[in-house]
Symmetry: C2
DNA sequence: CTCCTTAATGTTATATGATAACGATACCGC
DNA sequence: GCGGTATCGTTATCATATAACATTAAGGAG
């Protein structure tokens, strides 16, 4: 039986997630060095905490964790780090959840889009130039100049759907 | 010169907006009668206030207006009305703005999608089976079962883009 | 190395968005 | 009219996010 191709973020099979985290931090270091941005200790730690799993993370959960570690942190501490990471394109905000997730995608030409499982909570950033193209076409027809997209598809990932059927 | 086809919601030309409001309320009455739902005074008034213009409306702005009219209204008053209207499909939530907008679309087969102008603030619900189809395809390939979509495209409407260029 | 400017962080307070819980009313079928 | 259920009123509280200003750290010019 052939399994459908699926994003590692949505897969329920074990994967080397430590590698996900390490890769993300390596990429972040490289990107910041390259652009002259400063990935300070707090910013780096927030990014690392966000990458702790493939589920969107809430700002106040980050705050609680940072506080457990260093005792001093107020909301602005976390929100400023989040703003930096958002601006740098290292994370995205999941608007439908007021939560944040790491980005492992090259956004040269495509905009962020997510499949989000309502059962396991995992969110996978998908790359589909088709979706971008269709939206670009629709926008073109309407004379609308696209600046930013929020595309969040909620539902059941393959594994959770299979589990429900059994 | 040919104007691009555009949604009345994004058009800056005057239109009979009283008719927009009247239509929306008429449709709401019909739909609720048909389904045995009760469009009570508060719910109807909240819907009417949301339709006051083609820009997403914030819950606490609704609250302030209701309060100005009847003096007694707490957040639950408005949020309960909003929940009802959302469930009935009479309004949608614009997740990226924590705001609400009226729906004038038949959602038999297509999911809500919006173009939102960052300059004039108008939001237009667009109907594009193409976008739904492409997303359905992508989901199919990933074995993902789609439940609900959040599609919000931010940018400049034709009129605002033209104004900026001049 | 020191001074200076700017970026980043600490700190307090507050704004904004949403829900829990429970009692009081209003509606509807019988 | 009676009784059950949906709606609404009311109070309190939780959750999300930012304003404002003081303090500290980083990095460049001389
Ligand atoms: Zn992983
Ligand atoms: Zn991304
Ligand atoms: Zn109108
Ligand atoms: Zn709609």
């Amino acid at each position: 039986m052939v399994q459908p191709a699926t994003n590692v973020a949505l897969s329920h099979s074990a994967h080397d997630h430590d590698a996900c985290i390490a890769d993300a931090l390596t990429r972040a270091d490289a990107l910041c060095r390259q652009r002259g941005l400063r990935l300070t200790a707090i910013r780096r730690r927030v990014l690392e905490l966000i990458w702790a799993n493939h589920q969107p993370t809430k700002a106040y959960d980050l705050l609680a964790q940072i506080n457990a570690e260093r005792g001093n942190a107020a909301p602005p501490t976390v929100y400023r780090a989040l703003d930096f990471l958002l601006d740098a394109g290292l994370i995205h905000k999941i608007e439908s959840q007021n939560a944040f997730i790491g980005c492992a995608v090259d956004h040269d030409r495509n905009q962020p889009k997510f499949f989000i499982c309502r059962t396991c909570g995992r969110a996978a950033e998908i790359q589909s130039s088709q979706i971008d193209d269709v939206i670009a076409n629709e926008a073109e027809e309407a004379g609308f100049v696209v600046d930013h997209q929020t595309i969040e598809v909620d539902g059941l990932c393959a594994a959770c759907a299979a589990a429900l059927k059994s």
